[in-house]
Structures are given as C-alpha cells and as structure tokens.
Symmetry: C2
Subunit: 492 residues, 2 copies
C-alpha cells in the first residue's frame, strides 16, 4: 500500500516522521517549526488532556486563563527565567498592517503602529501569572492558589520535530502559590507523582521519577523534579517536569502576604507542565514498523469492525450483527467504529487500522455469522483468534485491559533491561555507543564534569532518581568521590 | 459588604464591570486590552465549551489544531478577509531577545533576529486552514471536511470591555469544506441553528436567527448568518455567526477537487464561531443589582449549603446532615458545595453566593434540623421557602430545571416586549431614544441608507430575520420601496 513507512532498523528518525504523518496524527504547516495537529492526533490529545484535567481537579486545582502576550518589562523581571528563555522568544512589535502602496492588493506592517513596549508571546507564563497573583494575595487566607492553565506557548526552536519539539505547542502549566516552603515542596512532589501515575497508567509508559542536576533545572527554579521515559532506540525522553520555584518569582514581582502573626512574608511557588510532546513519547515507546500501537485507555478508537462480504445481500446480514455489536460495546463505554465504507477492500482497511494503532480489530464475514463467531485481532501482539459472538462485549472489555497491561509490562521490561551500571569511563562509553539506554553511574556532583561528559558524549544527566540509595563510589570521569549514582542517557 | 456593585439604574456600564470583577469571573491584566479569566469565569466557560463541543460532535465535526502564527503572504491571499482584519493584527517581527548592553539585567529585541517574513497572530484562521486544506483535498472522496478548533485569537481592538471585546479572546472556529454549494449552505444554516439551540437551551437567552446585510458581513463571506440577543439595557448583542464563504478561500488558496465526473472544481467553504463574548451576553441578559444570575445548566456551582450554628456541638449535627445532602445531590449529578468555612458569618456568605449567581442556596440550622426542614432560597426570584429535608434532592433537581425555564421565559418576555415596529423616521428615533430594544422597520436595501442611519443614530441592521415575512412597505429613511422588515438596534 501507499502508506508504507520506513522501518525502525533502517532509520529510526525517518520511521518516526513517517508514522506521525501517515497515521494522520499531525502534518507540517506553512509556518516554520509549527505543525497542524490533525483530527486523529487531536482526539488522542483530548483523551490525554481530559484524564490529566480530572487528576488535577481531584488534587484540588482549578483552571484559569492568562494572556498570551507578556510585556517585555514583566518578562525580564525574574532574571534567570528571562535569560533562560530570551533566545527563543517570538516578539510582537506592531499592532497593524496596512495596504502596501507598491504591491497592489498586498499588505505591509504599518510603521506608525509600533508598540511602545514590545510583547513576548509566552514561552511559559510565570511572569504574567505572578504579576497577577500580586494583586490577588494579601493575607494567608488567600493562600494557597492552586491554578492550572491549558494553553499554547511559543518557543522559537531552531531544529524542530513533529510533537517532540515544535515552535508552538499545546500544554498545561500549573502555577501554585503557598504560604510555606514545606507546602510548596509537597505540591511539587505531588504533581510529579500525578504525572508519573498518568504516564504509566494511561500511556502505559514506565517512568523514573527524579530530580534534575543544577544545570538541567528550569530557568528560575530551585529544584526541578521530572519523569524520564525510555524510547525504543535507547534514548531517554523527559516527559514532564514539576518545579519548586522557591521565592524567586514572589521576590521579582513583590508578592507578599500577611501571615497569622501579622508579618509580611514572600510567597512560595511551584510550576509544573506537560505538553503535546507526550504524544512523541507515546509513539516511540510502543509503535512498530506497521504503525502506531496505542494504549486502549487513551486510544481515540478502541475497536474497529470490518465487514467481509461479497454482494449486498450478505452485507445486510453482517450490517445487522455489526450494529448490534456496536451498540453493545458503546453501552460499555467502548469507543468503536463499524467501517463499512465501500471504497476500499478489507485488506486495505486492516492495514489502515494497524497503521492507526487501533487496539482491537474484528473481521466479520458471512461464514463467521453462520458459525456465530468473529475473527478478533489484537494490535499489540498481532494475535488473531476466532471467538464466539456470545458475550463478545465483555470479552473485548477484558481484552482491552489486557492490552493496556501488556503494553506497560513490555515497555517496563525493555526499560529495566536497559538500565545498566557503569563504573569506569570505558564502560560508560561502551554502553552509550553499543547498547544505549540509561546508564547508572557515579558523578562528582559538579556542573563542570557534567558539561564535559555532555560535550564528549552527548549524554546528559537525566535525573537523580528519587529512590536511589546512598552508595559510596567514584566519578566515572574525574575519579572524585560520589555518594550516589545518577542516571545518564542521550535524550530527545 | 465591601463587594458592593453599582446599580444598573445608576450606570449600566459600570454595573457590568463591577459585576465581572467582584463576582470573580475575570480581572484586568497588565497587557493592554487583555484580561485574565479567573477560575470561576473559566469554570463557566468550561461548561459552555463542553456542551458546545458535544453538539459539534453530534453534528459530525471533529476537532483539530492549526498554528497560531500566520505568514503575512498567506494572510493577505484572500484580499477581502485580509483587508477586513489588517487594522487589528498583532505582528511578530523578531524571534529573539538579548541582553541590553545599556541596562544591566534587562533585555532588548535582538535586531539580528528579524524574521524574513512577518507573522500575524491569527485574528481568525481561514488563511492558515485553507492553505492546509489545499494539501488534504484531491478528490470528492476527501470531502466534506468538518473540522472545529478551540483556540485563542488576537484582534487589536482600541476600546476593550471585559469579555465583550478584548484584544485576546478564546473561541471556537469551525471550518468546513464541501463539494457543492448546497451542502455548504446547508452546513452554514445547521451551525447557526446549533448556536441558537445552545444559547437558548443552556444560557437561557432567547435569540433571533437572521442574515446580516452586506455591510455587516464577515470579511470574505458571501453570506453571514447570526444570532442576535437583547440585553437588559435594550441594546442588542451578536452572540454567534456562521458564514457561507462560497469559493472565495478555495480560489485564493487554489483548493480544487476531482469530482465524480473527473473534472476539477473549486471547493465550497463555511466558517462559524462563538467566543468568550457569550459570557458578556449571559451576564447582561439575566443578572441584577445583587450580582450574577446564572442558568443552572451551565452554572459552575448549582447549589450551596450554608450552616447556621453557634458552638461546635450544634455544628457537628449540621455537618452530618449537610454531608448527607451533598452526597445525595452529587449522586444526581448536581454541582453542590457545603460552605462551612468559619471565617465569615452566614449573612456574608449569603451575599457572596448571590453575587456569584448560584441558583439555589440552602441555609441549615439546628432548629431546622429538629423540625426536619431547611430554608431554600432561589437566586432568580429571591423567594425563600422552608421545605422538608425528605426527598430534598429530587425537589432541588426539579427546582433547578424550573429556574432554568423561568430565566428563559423572563428573558423571552422582555425581548418580545422590546421588539417594536417603526413605520416612520420619527417613530424610529423615538423608540431608539426612549425605549431602545429591537426596531422592526422597512429599509430600501442599500448600503448607503444603512450607513446614513448608522451615522445619525448609531443603530445598525442587526439582521434580516430568517422567519420574516414578505411585506410591502417604504424605507423609514428614504421612502423608497421595501419588500420586508429588518431588525435595527444599537448594539454591543
């Protein structure tokens, strides 16, 4: 078929691009570095967003919406944050176009409509939000503020990849304000755990929860917690981050509150976010050379029914049974489609739904009907079985859950097999070049050593796992003492 | 209390602003013309959005997401559309900031990071979307495309009002592509009817469905259908529009398809949208001098329970009953809150929830408990009744529906009483200045007359109602013949 995709063995990167485009998740656009999220990709994002939103609300958060445009003077107030994002800022300088006198029917920027102060398109919203919190917080009674925002942000990236790195992307950003440091740290950790739960239980992607080294921290944060996942090519992918911001933004924007003892204190902050980048992680964790493999809990379509028939008469009988099935599955809340379109043959449809990663496919023919059976194929293992039509809805419900668990276990096994200890520099290089995956190794704790390792190998410290034990050792590069192992990997 | 709001009689416009701010729907921001949608306002928008989204999906639409930024060359391709929005465009000209050598710790736009082609922040997305559809449409099999997008847009307005007119706002924009003109016209009308159903059945605001005069059409449309609502001050508000775009965008972006006869044809288009402006309409249609009045179907909170107690002992008994009630109401899908916070007195809470427009308030005291009753107050009529605690959940369910209907009927009666016929210019002026509301009058059908009327009176043609009958008459301004009445009003 025309939708052929490059194999992973041949070119992993091309396989990824082919998959995104051909499964119709997204498309390139006319705007440099920006993509179009197509209906199938957006339906997937909606399922992910809705589940995350539910989890945020269950942990006491509410949604709000803050402006897209940030005046430069606000943007630069928290200097570290501003410095970290300055190089990626799209800047609005004018507010009007006018007819171009030299090009009939064309427009030009009206030089008379120059803004007095330039506006930055938010690359992240700490500045505009903390400038607003300033007016909302007077007393300890106004705290905590537990707000999340679903929004688009723009970061002018030079090298972009569909979903993984785009100039504009969709995300959510939580921004909370607290009376005490303890409360803010607790919130930071709560949210990185919410992310881990979501990514593992819904996306079926196992993650390691950890803390970033100082150089990998979010600009303006005191601590960045993260979840790190492993892709099939052995590269790591940061899937979500939760930042403890200390009082940095409160000080930059003068956000103080009157505590119970009637004293002014600066507010403590957190921020946390995940983005459409998660879709990239999802694709690279599960899919194969035939196409996407989507976990049932977030798949836009969970079951597809394809009729096998010759002539209208046999189709009628199949239609009747298929529609009954659709009704029974929908009653169980299962997302199902009966594809009886007549402009392609069953084989073509099979391949198309494999490409789209639909977890379960049923093929229903007249002979099957006579025997009260149906052919059931699962996308994850490609197993096909002939099963009775009786009680099929319940059977499918169980199968979907089985697929969900199987995908997670498969990814977990792969991930666990690809965490290796390295105790010398040679071992480190050997693993990096010949096996990839995560490398658990000792590091002397300095930014200098971290940078040297990065420069020489492109491997970065992905995180210091929260569950890592103390262990005396020596740094793989410098031989200096180290008290615990950290996780290195090359990463997306 | 400190949250006092200006009365409508004193200053309608100030009443509106007070209400939005003090009920915590939204707040001003540091960005010119942009607002912050606060959690309460955003929860209201979420309820509206979710219902609309459901209705769009039920009519066969899917969601997708297109880039925020539109290259100027694409933006100007459909000339009428471009001309219509050119004066309101925020323009991105640079993609980087850098350290300002003259101001320590501050940033400046990097002159070396000037874009080769300027990018317009979408004021509406026809251009970027039709440029994309070009690559998606080859044959009649690719049609129709029925896509909706939930997004933010920016229109640089000079005079802004919270919700009603802001430089950035949230909206949805449907963009559909069809093989035939008939199909596109049918879609245009289908969607204006979806909007009418939503605004009437969920927002409880009656609307008139009609067609815009040529001068009031969307830039680039062949026909604009609209729903017009009437506010309490007698001014009209356009609550939603649905455009038949003919082949204008298909021709501007060369979107053709091979029809069943193997001939190339241009595609037919529609677009349709509603925005956070609807919240402005909602406020001005129902609310009073004490605060918001929200229709139960979209109210973030439908029922609030306030305990009346002295001393902890009596509170315990009340807590127990209140929690039972909360559970019973939640089981019915009712959004309820038990407000037992101890930092304000019951009277203060009553006023606060009135201000927020919560449809039903229950006040539960120890004496009530003894008698197995509760005081129930409805926000719309301010009636208070003492009702039995037995079967209260069902009673409240019915009451919420009654309030929903009452709000609609009240607004409908007001609207109907404020549609008046004018047959002479003097009558027209008299109604406008002394009664306001809609004026049903004859017009000679020319843009010239329409403009004169607008210049002299600030009244515009809101629409030509779809259900208006043919009727011979003479234009109120020119005395020229007219075949049907149109609706005039001063409008938001």
């Amino acid at each position: 078929m025309s939708k052929e995709i490059t194999s992973r063995a041949l070119d992993y990167s091309q396989w990824y691009n082919d998959l995104v485009i051909k499964s119709e998740l997204a498309d390139y656009s006319a705007v440099r570095g920006c993509m179009v999220i197509k209906p199938y990709g957006y339906a997937l994002w909606e399922n992910m967003r809705d589940q995350l939103d539910k989890m945020f609300k269950e942990t006491g958060h509410v949604n709000a919406y803050f402006p897209l445009l940030v005046p430069k003077s606000l943007f630069e107030a928290e200097e570290k944050n501003a410095e970290g994002f300055a190089k990626e800022c799209a800047v609005v300088t004018h507010y009007r176009l006018k007819a171009d006198p030299n090009r009939k029917g064309k427009l030009m920027v009206d030089p008379e409509a120059k803004l007095e102060e330039e506006l930055v398109i938010r690359p992240t919203s700490e500045a505009i939000i903390w400038n607003t919190y300033k007016t909302w917080v007077q007393s300890y009674r106004d705290l905590p503020i537990l707000i999340n925002q679903w929004a688009n942000v723009v970061r002018w990236e030079m090298r972009t990849r569909l979903f993984l790195r785009t100039a504009e992307f969709l995300w959510q950003e939580g921004h909370t304000a607290h009376a005490t440091k303890d409360e803010a740290v607790e919130e930071t950790i709560r949210m990185v755990n919410v992310y881990a739960t979501f990514v593992e239980n819904y996306m079926a992607v196992p993650v390691i929860i950890g803390v970033k080294s100082e150089s990998e921290r979010f600009a303006g944060a005191e601590d960045t917690y993260c979840i790190e996942a492993l892709m099939q090519d052995g590269k790591a992918l940061q899937a979500g981050t939760s930042h403890f911001l200390g009082q940095n933004f409160a000080k930059a924007f003068e956000v103080q509150y009157l505590n119970k003892e009637n004293k002014q204190e600066y507010v403590w902050a957190t921020s946390w976010g995940v983005s459409t980048r998660l879709i990239g992680a999802l694709i690279m964790a599960h899919s194969d050379d035939e196409g996407l493999i989507l976990p049932p809990r977030i798949a836009p379509l969970q079951v597809v029914i394809v009729p096998i028939y010759k002539g209208e008469e046999s189709k009628e009988a199949i239609d009747k049974k298929a529609n009954e099935l659709v009704k029974a599955l929908k009653a169980k809340g299962i997302r199902v489609k009966y594809d009886d379109s007549d402009h392609s043959r069953p084989g073509y449809k099979f391949a198309a739904y494999e490409l789209k990663g639909v977890p379960v496919r049923l093929a229903l023919g007249l002979r099957d009907l006579d025997q009260n059976v149906v052919e059931m194929a699962r996308r994850d293992t490609k197993e096909k079985t002939t099963v009775s039509l009786d009680g099929l809805d319940t059977r499918i419900e169980i199968l979907l859950e089985e697929i969900q668990q199987n995908l997670y276990q498969r990814a977990l096994q792969f991930r666990n097999e690809n965490i290796r200890k390295a105790d010398t520099w040679d071992e480190f290089l050997d693993i990096l070049d010949n096996k990839a995956g995560f490398i658990s190794a000792h590091w002397d704790g300095t930014a200098d050593t971290e940078e040297k390792i990065k420069d020489e190998t492109k491997a970065t410290i992905r995180c210091i796992p929260l569950d890592s034990a103390e262990e005396a050792g020596i740094c793989i590069l410098t031989g200096k003492p180290s008290s615990r192992r950290v996780l290195f990997a090359r990463a997306y």
